[in-house]
Symmetry: C2
């Protein structure tokens, strides 16, 4: 971070960046459709969790808006592992399904890790299978988890240099913190990871040029943790009586943070945009492996 | 790190800790042999690199000393990928081979990543397959790479608390830095990772309670990087006209570091000890999967 910070905080408009990415995806989908290769995303929802139903509906809407094929399966709450696995296998075998998204969390009788690993690596648009995470660790081609990719895209869109930047990642979760740490290090950032056992959080976050917070603890990070002028990315999302809130006390950082993502309208829209990007990549990857279609 | 540092640097005796671990492994091998389940390690060497030949010979000697079965294959320098893959497949199918070690580096005509991935996850004693790294990322059962496990074992043997400790990992390599970062975070350490693009190395290492250096740059780390009383683990190994040297200027840290690993006699012996531990674990893992033997 160069220059002196003059005290005006810029809000990073994730909604607008996500919209641009989705428009780009839609263009490439139209090109693919012209040669009869429409990418398709299959969403698989087990049970009746209302929040999951809302998320799946939003993803399906985005899929259709991008011009992709929307395939959906809804299984009852008390489905057996065999039943869910059979549906995954069926979707894995379909050439018109480029990506498979198994909505989490799953009902407790199901072994989530085993079912996730049943998704073929070329269709793993959530990037959460053992094979995808191993490919990430080895730096091999693969689909990366959507939320951390979305954070990287946001920083890129803002023109923030990652190589040599000091980044604090707060939260070591499987969905965000861990894969994000890998992605940032691959881009040449110096990364410090803090979590629930970190004694002095501010000691980790205050030296950082960029602070990414993904803890699930509402309002954890405030002005005491952030150096004037630093960029703050808030991955948290909490429903409150006054609307959505994040892991960061954003109002208190006004005039302190150089840039900050709002909640909502920051990282959230990027997750769905990256799901579409991953579905497109999966379709291209699958097409390479598959025989050339006869028109 | 509690208390005030009084200026006497303790040398961490990796050779002695490794000897103890190897003796424990030998005891368990003797128990396994009593029920006709002798663990076996297969080493596979391709070509005539003299350093590789020395390393493989040392590993085989350790295997025999632990009472394990020593299986060895030596293929010519100009072997094809098919030839190497066939030997891996043969070893993978043998019930008397618990673990397979493919000595690196491989001759340039061979695709190392593809050949490594041919080793079944239950026999991957180096912990470097995509499947093993994915299991590490997900926190699932699996074999962990030997050198980073050896670093953790050294710290444990010294009674150094990892939970809540601040650790700086210098070097983001595939063999040490990356898996070590995961292992440390799983143990509850706050971890900062520095590498060749880190602008201010001392800013990352000086706040740390423990500094682990695995860069391949001789003498990179010195007193300017280390807080008085901190523990310094040197993973580097360089042949010099005056004997072996590490990534750390150890002599300059005398009276500054609280504890330090020597080179040689620090991390090096731990790598072989952990290879034996992994072979034992692989044998136990394989035995669970295999049918119960009839005596």
């Amino acid at each position: 971070m160069t220059g002196t910070f003059v005290g005006v905080t810029r809000t990073i408009d994730g909604s607008s960046i996500a919209r641009r990415i989705r428009a780009e995806v839609a263009e490439r989908v139209a090109e693919a459709a012209a040669v009869r290769r429409v990418p398709g995303l299959a969403t698989l929802l087990v049970g009746d969790d209302p929040a999951s139903a809302v998320y799946v509906a939003a993803k399906r809407r985005a899929v259709r808006e991008a011009g992709m094929r929307d395939v959906h399966r809804h299984l009852p709450e008390h489905s057996t592992e065999y039943e869910v696995a059979s549906v995954i296998d069926e979707l894995a075998g379909r050439s018109d399904v480029s990506g498979i998204l198994l909505q989490l969390p799953l009902p407790p009788q199901l072994d989530a890790a085993a079912l996730i690993d049943r998704i073929p690596v070329t269709k793993d648009v959530d990037g959460l299978t053992t094979a995808s995470l191993g490919r990430l660790a080895r730096g091999e081609r693969g689909l990366r988890p959507c939320t951390p990719s979305g954070v990287i895209e946001l920083l890129d869109a803002e023109g923030i240099e990652l190589k040599g930047a000091c980044v604090a990642v707060v939260g070591w979760g499987e969905l965000v913190g861990r894969p994000l740490t890998h992605l940032l290090l691959r881009r040449g950032a110096t990364v410090s990871v803090a979590h629930e056992f970190t004694a002095d959080l501010a000691a980790v976050t205050r030296p950082a040029d960029i602070v990414v917070v993904a803890t699930g603890v509402r309002g954890l990070v405030g002005p005491e943790h952030v150096r004037p002028g630093a960029t703050v990315i808030d991955v948290g999302i909490h429903r409150t009586p006054h609307g959505l809130a994040g892991d960061v006390r954003a109002a208190e950082l006004d005039g302190i943070a150089g840039r900050i993502t709002p909640v909502p309208g920051g990282v959230g829209p990027m997750t769905i945009a990256m799901l579409l990007v991953n579905t497109l990549r999966a379709a291209e990857w699958g097409a390479e492996a598959a025989p050339v279609p006869v028109c």
